[in-house]
């Protein structure tokens, strides 16, 4: 028999605001409706937030939809822009670039994946660019944007998108949402984490002013400090820096190039530099910039200097330095504490996954929300799924570094020579042979994502799948020419990105 309502959670305490904390608060606010569970967030205005990444990936639309957020209102409130992908400059070789767009490439033909058709055409001596067959990429290259339609016959239905926004404004936006739904916010600094003498569960947080905040479930959003999950509970950390050797970042905003009337590019740009890479994220009012680098190869001054020398416009603030170790908590859920955001681990924002990791942590927590008996099953399943999801993203990031042909710098040579996880090795081998891709465990990145980065990083399969042999080459050539034409014509009919924003969601 079921044992309902014996021990529903009375209070969930979120330690730390910032993007992770307020995302959690907004999502958990729905529990306040049950009349039993209180949700409390403790944060201090004295502690700055890191503002994990200002670029996102398409699943964030699901998170916003779950909260019932109006997309235009959210973009206006966060100086947001649309994102169709990421341009990678110089990642394979200096002077080469590719775009990793959202959404699929072309259409499969008679069960044969489109990128296999593309490979067959290449083998026939018809080297059509893969880039011509992705709606988001074709639009991004023209600086245009439109929302996709639901009509599957239209090329526009193939388009997928995400956002760039100011993470601080997003947190403030979510705070209003959460507080309106009953989440209580306390101002204060956490001084001490009090554990139960026998069970070792967290009983309460003591604030520096002496106030005690007790609770049943604690969510650690205290950033790199990881006060609860590591400081009090000693989860342990799995270090991945031998695969992802960058360990510092410096960030600086600059003005919007061309002023308020300037164009806004609908994509993130990532440019490889001698010992790391530089990001550029266009917002409505400014451009976010930063350099992720490896301190073994570059001093902080070298990194800042290179960053400041490569901005589109005047910097509008001082460079801010950040130190990190790439990896994840061995157990993101320990006893009655779940870590989200930087407290749960760090992976560089190369594929804009920081906010996504918070999001999937929240959705797993909602699906596995425990009661006060805290059965081991929920914890085990949360930790099992988290480990799988993190490792999949980790592998995708490693691919960018491993497959470089930049002989120009020691950093890149070290990356090209490093051994990679067996899971990634297998993926590369399968793709390098016949362009085959298999998606494991509902992983975040699809065939299209892997194809974009594998080919962008110079892995062109030796042969196409024998399945494509059965298709008539001449017919394929004509069919794909019509397909590319449809993408091109559809993109040309879209408004420019800046015009679309001005019309729908100007801040």
């Amino acid at each position: 028999m079921s044992e309902p309502l014996r021990h529903p959670l009375r209070r969930i305490v979120i330690a730390g605001g910032g993007t992770a904390g307020w995302m959690a608060a907004a999502a958990l606010s729905r529990l306040c409706a049950n009349g039993t569970t209180r949700v409390t967030l403790v944060e201090s205005e004295e502690i700055g937030t890191v503002g994990v990444g200002e670029a996102t990936i398409p699943p964030i639309k699901t998170f916003n939809a779950m909260l019932g957020i109006d997309e235009d209102a959210f973009l206006a409130a966060t100086q947001g822009t649309f994102k169709l992908g990421i341009a990678f400059e110089g990642w394979h070789r200096e002077g080469e670039s590719y775009l990793h767009p959202f959404g699929a490439y072309g259409a499969d033909i008679e069960g044969v994946k489109f990128h296999q058709i593309w490979l067959k055409l290449r083998a026939m001596g018809i080297p059509v660019p893969l880039a011509d067959f992705n709606m988001a990429e074709v639009a991004a290259r023209m600086g245009r944007f439109d929302r996709p339609t639901g009509d599957p016959r239209s090329a526009l239905s193939q388009l997928d998108y995400a956002f760039h926004f100011d993470a601080g404004l997003y947190a403030a936006f979510l705070r209003r949402h959460a507080e309106a739904r009953g989440v209580e916010r306390l101002e204060g600094r956490i001084g001490q984490v009090l554990l139960h003498g026998e069970t070792g569960f967290i009983e309460a947080l003591r604030l520096e002013d002496g106030r005690l905040i007790d609770g049943d479930l604690f969510i650690d959003c205290t950033g790199f400090r990881a006060l609860l999950i590591e400081g009090a509970l000693g989860s342990g950390f799995e270090d991945w820096s031998h695969w992802l050797p960058c360990d510092r970042a410096v960030a600086v905003p600059c003005a919007r190039a061309g002023g308020a009337a300037g164009p806004i590019l609908p994509y993130t740009r990532s440019t490889a530099r001698a010992a790391g890479w530089q990001w550029r994220i266009p917002l409505q009012h400014r451009t976010g910039n930063g350099m992720v680098y490896c301190s073994r190869y570059w001093s902080d001054d070298e990194a800042s200097g290179t960053l400041l020398a490569n901005l589109d416009a005047e910097p509008t603030g001082e460079p801010r330095l950040l130190r990190f170790t790439t990896g994840m908590r061995k157990q993101p859920w320990v006893k009655n504490c779940v870590a989200l955001g930087l407290a749960s681990g760090f992976m560089e924002p190369l594929e804009s996954t920081s906010i996504h990791l918070v999001q999937i942590g929240i959705s797993k927590l909602l699906a596995l929300l425990p009661d006060r008996s805290f059965p081991a099953h929920e914890r085990a399943e949360y930790n099992r799924l988290t480990a799988i999801q993190w490792a999949q993203i980790r592998d995708f990031l490693i691919l960018h570094y491993k497959q470089n042909a930049r002989g120009d710098a020691a950093f890149w040579q070290e990356c090209a020579a490093m051994p990679v996880p067996e899971t990634l090795e297998r993926k590369i081998a399968l793709f390098a042979g016949t362009g085959r891709l298999f998606r494991y465990d509902d992983e975040l990145f699809t065939d299209a994502n892997w194809t974009a980065v594998m080919t962008g990083q110079g892995i062109i399969p030796q042969a196409h799948d024998p399945l494509a042999d059965a298709l008539d080459g001449a017919a394929l050539r004509d069919m794909t020419a019509r397909m590319a034409d449809a993408f091109r014509r559809t993109a040309r009919a879209m408004p420019f990105h800046a015009d679309f924003i001005a019309r729908h969601c100007a801040a």
């Binding site: 079921s2 044992e3 959705s363 596995l368 929300l369 399943e381 465990d441 042969a463 196409h464």
Partner: protein, 493 residues
């Protein structure tokens, strides 16, 4: 893992795409592979070699137990269609009958028969899955029969069914169905189709390894070996008899009386007996029957028929693809057929080989990936089968022993997680998604101890309204459907 062509089986290294495929065993598994390979990869030269000169007269063990009828799951039909085979032909030539799920009698200690439908159950309420809504309603004292919110179950109850039209926007478009087919007729259909697509008959060969000299790739489709491990089995093979203890199966097919015979019900039926289980799969105009038990403790009524019983030896090989030989169907693994997955697993093998068909002679990468995926699918089928056998409420000494048996970690984890909070732990290689697992647990009498916290935030009235809306839409949809028998008659006309 030895590379293709230079492995332990003696074939010479060569370059260029694999083109010559030899299939050992002309049973259902062998011709299934021949037919689908020939249709998807027309450049192959495929030869099917019987495993013995009198193979045609022996029972076909290539999928495992030589069942009189096999079942294609909903996803399987998509693979059949993708190969260009028509569902209508299967119905016409193989006495086909639509399948909407399985009725289970005697598998739970209380609560009577249960129905495990294909497809979705109910609909989620916001972010809360339907089965968690049901658990919340039950926790508040409501008596909810989950099958009442499954379209497949409602169709099965009323005997109404038609495949949804692609332009149907109603609730009917979510209807998920499989197909029951006569095993031997399916084998003949696939054989004829394969021959029409250029596949050739070869001479009888007992040892598939001897085919390596004249082929780039050899498929072993001869059925299960005598043993999987120890005494004569291969190193690293697994014997599953501890959790799948039944080692004998009797199969039968009888014509349904009457002219014309009554239309077949659109579902299978599975009864737990004190000494084993009995399954019924309907065909057009016939009923097929399977009785599975242990030779050491047979049901009293079958002692006279023991010599006719087919041997069942659950277990699996260490790796399906070794060197230039790919073992498919029961040659690679055999499960107790209680979950009805024999044909599904063989088809999955064929589909996997097509997806990974080597483009050149060095196929070590493909073989390793094939084995990884084969093992994952095998693990998932194992868990589904073992939980049905070892975590049910059936009455009898053999069931008591099975319930007391320790389960492998992953299998136990699935059970314990669901029993705790109704959460389904999904892995790569699943045969069934969340609804299939939930309905199996329901049918076995396993319910979550604690409802989902999120579901408990949904007010009672909202749940009641949600249930009513679903039920109303489903009943309205089902009422529009014709009787199952009429649809079959129309296909065959």
């Amino acid at each position: 893992m030895a590379a293709f062509g230079s492995g332990a089986f003696g074939a010479l290294p060569r370059s260029g795409p694999a083109e010559r495929v030899a299939i050992s065993g002309g049973g259902l598994c062998g011709w299934l592979a021949a037919c689908l390979l020939a249709r998807h990869l027309p450049h192959l030269r495929i030869v099917v070699h019987p495993a013995s000169a009198d193979e045609e007269t022996r029972p076909d063990r290539s999928l495992g137990v030589p069942l009189a009828a096999e079942v294609l799951l909903p996803g399987d039909l998509e693979h059949i269609a993708a190969a260009g085979l028509r569902g209508g032909d299967l119905i016409r030539h193989c006495r086909g009958s639509f399948m909407l799920g399985t009725a289970l009698t005697g598998w739970r200690a209380a609560g009577g028969p249960a129905f495990v439908p294909f497809g979705e159950i109910g609909a989620p309420l916001g972010p809360v899955p339907f089965h968690q809504i049901v658990a919340a309603a039950r926790a508040r004292g409501h008596d909810v029969n989950m099958a009442n919110y499954a379209l497949g179950a409602l169709c099965a109850q009323t005997g109404r069914f038609a495949p949804p039209r692609s332009d149907d926007a109603s609730v009917l478009s979510t209807l998920s169905f499989g197909l029951a087919v006569e095993s031997d007729a399916l084998r003949r259909l696939l054989r004829d189709d394969a021959l029409a697509h250029g596949v050739q008959h070869g001479e009888a060969v007992a040892d598939p390894a001897s085919l390596c000299a004249a082929a780039d790739l050899v498929i072993d489709a001869r059925g299960a070996p005598e043993a999987w491990s120890e005494n004569g089995g291969e190193q690293g093979g697994e014997d599953w008899s501890a959790l799948m203890p039944f080692d004998r199966a009797l199969v039968a097919k009888r014509a349904e009386p009457g002219t014309p015979p009554p239309p077949p019900p659109p579902y299978a039926h599975l009864s737990a007996l004190a000494e084993g289980w009995q399954g019924f799969v309907p065909l057009a105009g016939a009923m097929t029957e399977t009785l599975v038990f242990a030779a050491a403790a047979p049901p009293a009524e079958v002692t006279g028929a023991l010599p006719e019983a087919h041997r069942l030896a659950p277990g699996r090989s260490a790796a399906a693809w070794q060197g230039a030989i790919v073992r498919m169907g029961a040659a690679a693994q055999q499960h107790d057929p209680v979950a009805g997955l024999q044909l599904h697993l063989a088809l999955a093998d064929v589909v996997r080989l097509i997806a990974l068909f080597p483009a050149n002679a060095d196929c070590a990468v493909e073989a390793a990936e094939y084995n990884r995926q084969w093992r994952e699918r095998s693990d998932c089928a194992f868990d589904y089968t073992v939980l049905r056998l070892a975590r049910n409420g059936a009455k009898g000494a053999v069931w008591d022993r099975l319930r007391a048996a320790a389960l492998p970690h992953r299998t136990a984890y699935r059970h314990d997680l669901y029993a705790a909070n109704g959460r389904i732990a999904l892995h790569d290689g699943e045969v069934f998604e969340t609804p299939g697992w939930v309905m199996q647990f329901e049918a076995l009498g396993i319910r979550p101890r604690r409802p989902d916290a999120l579901a408990m935030t949904v007010p009672d009235m909202a749940i009641t309204a949600h249930f009513e809306a679903i039920r109303k839409a489903m009943l309205a949809g089902v009422a529009k459907l014709p009787p199952h028998g009429a649809v079959l008659a129309e296909v065959c006309a």
